[in-house]
């Protein structure tokens, strides 16, 4: 058997009920991922498994607020906002399950091309991804996922720190590279090139 389980092999004999039964040194596709029935949340980056920790209360509070402001702004508009757990599949060519090796669960995402949405989540890049930092887990957000979002052309990547009360926005430039904003904090408002007229008041976001 090759190290990738093909879609045809997705049947009961391939179901995995415990994360401990997975060899983390191997490479997996979305087809394999669909066979994982355990409760632990994981992400796939270029076929490698990254475990997700349970988010903290401040993380969830801020996630809730930002999604509320986005949801409120997007009423009667075409873009939609989704909150984790929500699978985003990043495909390089074929959209077949066994050809997809990167599957992420951004804390929040805004998707404007609704054709990318299906019953299992989103296939292709969202327009905006928001990640809320968690001490101890930032290498994945700021390094691995940063590279995926840039490479796959997510137009804006927002990085929010609940502990420092900061907001940083990466915007894709004409060459397809991320340009960082300054680090915004309390007392400031941030805008988005994707959502004209949207304004996020950081005092509201970080208010206790």
């Amino acid at each position: 058997m090759t190290e990738h389980l093909s879609y045809k092999e997705t049947n009961d004999k391939n179901k995995v009920v415990s994360l401990e039964d997975i060899d983390l040194s191997l490479t997996y596709s979305y087809a394999s991922y669909l066979n994982w029935l355990f409760d632990d949340r994981v992400e796939l980056i270029l076929g490698k498994i990254y475990k997700m920790g349970a988010p903290s209360r401040p993380h969830q509070k801020i996630s809730g607020k930002i999604s509320y402001f986005l949801f409120h702004y997007l009423r009667n508009k075409t873009c939609e906002v989704y909150t984790a757990p929500f699978d985003v599949r990043f495909h390089t060519g074929s959209k077949a399950d066994n050809d997809i090796y990167t599957v992420l669960q951004p804390d929040l995402c805004v998707v404007c091309d609704l054709a990318k949405l299906d019953d299992r989540g989103c296939i292709g890049s969202p327009d905006i991804v928001v990640e809320i930092l968690s001490p101890g887990n930032n290498k994945k957000e700021l390094f691995n996922k940063y590279q995926v979002y840039e490479e796959f052309g997510v137009k804006e990547y927002w990085v929010v720190s609940p502990s420092e009360k900061t907001f940083l926005k990466y915007t894709l430039n004409a060459e397809g590279k991320y340009q960082a904003s300054k680090l915004f904090t309390l007392g400031e408002r941030v805008n988005s090139d994707v959502l004209s007229g949207f304004e996020l008041d950081l005092d509201e976001v970080f208010k206790d």
Binding site: L133, P135, N138, K139, L142, F143, Y146, V159, S161, S163, E164, K165, T166, L168, Y170, Y178, A180, S181, K182, L183, F184, T185, L186, G187, E188
Partner: protein, 205 residues
């Protein structure tokens, strides 16, 4: 800006005796004999956080050490807080200086700016380590000062999130942010050729 408060004959022994709604100069600041650390930004008094946390101090020490080690036998010098940096607009006279900051760490290459009381004029690099609850001052007020006075690089470090961001002054005097660096990465400075800061050592060292 309202006129500065000038009573330089009286020493002030308690921070509570200062009217925080008024505007003060470095000359006033020199008469403040209390232990509380404060900074002046355009004449306004900003209290400094309660004593920095052990984590803040560990990161500060690690970065200072790397800089100190690199700068041995070179002309730039590294200083760490408490160390007063005066930002004069025109006159260098004490009563004409309204901004006095204590950066966590600074690198000064023009050593003629250094006198017995600290540094007068912009350092080449300023490093601030964030403290939860105190970041408006670092990221808004002091950011504006460092950019206006042309500190060439402003490094912002989060000990909690283990992140490093570097602002570099561009050709029109505006700060350009780097990306947010984190563990597993090394960062460099245009001012210090060959210097390399290993963030694994800074945050896990």
């Amino acid at each position: 800006m309202s006129g500065p408060y000038h009573n330089l004959n009286e020493k002030v022994l308690s921070l509570e005796d200062i009217d925080l709604s008024l505007t003060y100069s470095y000359a006033n600041y020199l008469t403040w004999l209390f232990d509380d650390r404060v900074e002046l930004i355009e004449g306004k008094v900003f209290k400094m956080s309660p004593a920095p946390s052990p984590l803040h101090q560990e990161v500060s020490a690690s970065i200072s050490y790397s800089l100190y080690h690199y700068l041995k036998n070179k002309s730039c010098k590294v200083y760490y807080a408490p160390f007063d940096v005066r930002f004069p607009k025109e006159s260098l006279a004490d009563k004409c200086i309204y901004t006095v900051l204590q950066p966590d760490i600074c690198v000064i290459c023009d050593t003629s700016n250094i006198d017995d009381r600290g540094c007068i004029g912009a350092p080449d690099i300023v490093i601030e380590i964030l403290s939860p609850g105190n970041n408006i001052k670092e990221l808004l007020n002091k950011y504006n000062i460092y950019e206006e006075f042309e500190v060439k690089e402003y490094w912002v470090v989060s000990a909690m999130e283990k992140t490093f961001l570097k602002y570099t002054l561009d050709s029109i005097g505006k700060y350009q942010p780097s990306r947010l660096f984190t563990l597993g990465e090394k960062v460099y400075s245009e001012i210090l050729p060959g210097f390399e800061l290993d963030l694994d050592e800074v945050f896990n060292g």
